[in-house]
Symmetry: C2
Subunit: 202 residues, 2 copies
DNA sequence: GAGCCGACCCGACGAAAGTAGGGTCCCCAC
DNA sequence: GTGGGGACCCTACTTTCGTCGGGTCGGCTC
């Protein structure tokens, strides 16, 4: 029998999941309300699978996942959350999660998914995998003016100031001005750092 | 009943998979030996799930997946291959695949995985998801010498020539030399392009 | 309207980056 | 064993960057 630890700061959710999974022939051995408790209960019960919420008070789901993944012979951690944001999924994977499901997953399917995860596979809600194909995004460029952002993106294509000027119909001197102000706004030291940032921002 | 199309250039593999899946209560409606045939059979049979091999003669698995994903109301395509390389996984996802399994997957688990995929979830072999957390890799830097690569990676952290020199105990002039030769070897115009490339290469 | 602020442009000058060239060392081929 | 060829390090010179200061225009406050 597959043993499961359910982690969610909302007791109602824990109870609901427990009911569903137990009814489907899984064994929910415990539930935790935050990350610290989750880590503790994993040590105590050594479950096969951990269903982990992300947003929780104190130690959040990512941190808890990382701690659990660092254990000897760790359980399979599957994130179960409402947020499909690319950055969340990536951080979960980096922390060692072996799956990322949305809470919109039909309850009847959840048990199957947990079972599959217990067999050592990774399971994802369809909406969460699309963003993984490309590089991660970043939105620190938001503080820049429109022109500055345009220039930054051209730097990310490897353009020189003169080339940027041509493309944007500006003097090279003007371009230099934009680069310079973007650097100070973002607290960077040179165009290369700006280009790297812009490249990550897509 | 979940209907499945199996695509593999090796008839033995197709037959084996068919046996396994049929025994587990799935309905393998057809098998295809290359990508073109796969597309055709998807149109004819409209299966729920396509199990797609990657390396095939003619139209390969990626191309076939892309064509299938572009159809109206497309089936769920799950890649089933022997290769776990990050680049393959990413290209499969980009093409529209909803899963990536290795052929080392135990046959008994395969049916469950297909069923889960048919429900609209994405399924992955554990070994294939680790690389997705970070940005994609690139190995054009292979043509560089060891020193040149070191310098390139430091550029990718936004270092100036002087800083690179400090970290590597070299003169700034020497660093410039490495940058310059790396640029000509890779046919690039400036340090920013080199930094971007190195950043993608990790 | 006066004053302020930010986005948008440009010129000049010092500070980086990039190029060309010249050395040493080591390895491999002929 | 000598003549490439490559990696490695450096100096001197040109090109490109980045900063600083200075302009205009529009919107906003008081």
């Amino acid at each position: 029998m597959v043993t499961v630890l359910v982690v969610d700061d909302e007791p109602m959710v824990c109870a609901h999941l427990t009911t569903i999974l137990d009814a489907a022939g899984l064994d929910v051995v415990a539930t935790a309300g935050d990350g610290a408790e989750a880590v503790e209960l994993v040590v105590r019960h050594a479950p096969d699978v951990v269903l982990m919420d992300l947003r929780m008070p104190g130690v959040d789901g990512i941190a808890a996942t990382a701690r659990i993944a660092a254990m000897a012979d760790p359980p399979t951690v599957v994130v179960l959350t409402t947020f499909a944001a690319d950055a969340h999924v990536r951080r979960a994977l980096q922390a060692g999660a072996a799956g990322y499901l949305l809470k919109s997953t039909p309850p009847t399917e959840l048990a199957d998914l947990v079972r599959v995860a217990a067999q050592g596979h990774a399971v994802f809600s369809r909406a969460t995998v699309g963003g993984l194909a490309g590089p991660p995004a970043d939105d620190r460029l938001a503080v820049l003016s429109a022109r500055e952002r345009e220039v930054a993106f051209l730097l990310a294509e490897g353009c020189t100031n003169a080339e940027v000027g041509q493309r944007l119909h500006l003097t090279e001197a003007t371009v230099k001005g934009y680069v310079s102000s973007a650097l100070t706004k973002l607290d960077l030291q040179n165009r290369t750092q700006l280009a790297l940032l812009a490249a990550r921002s897509r």
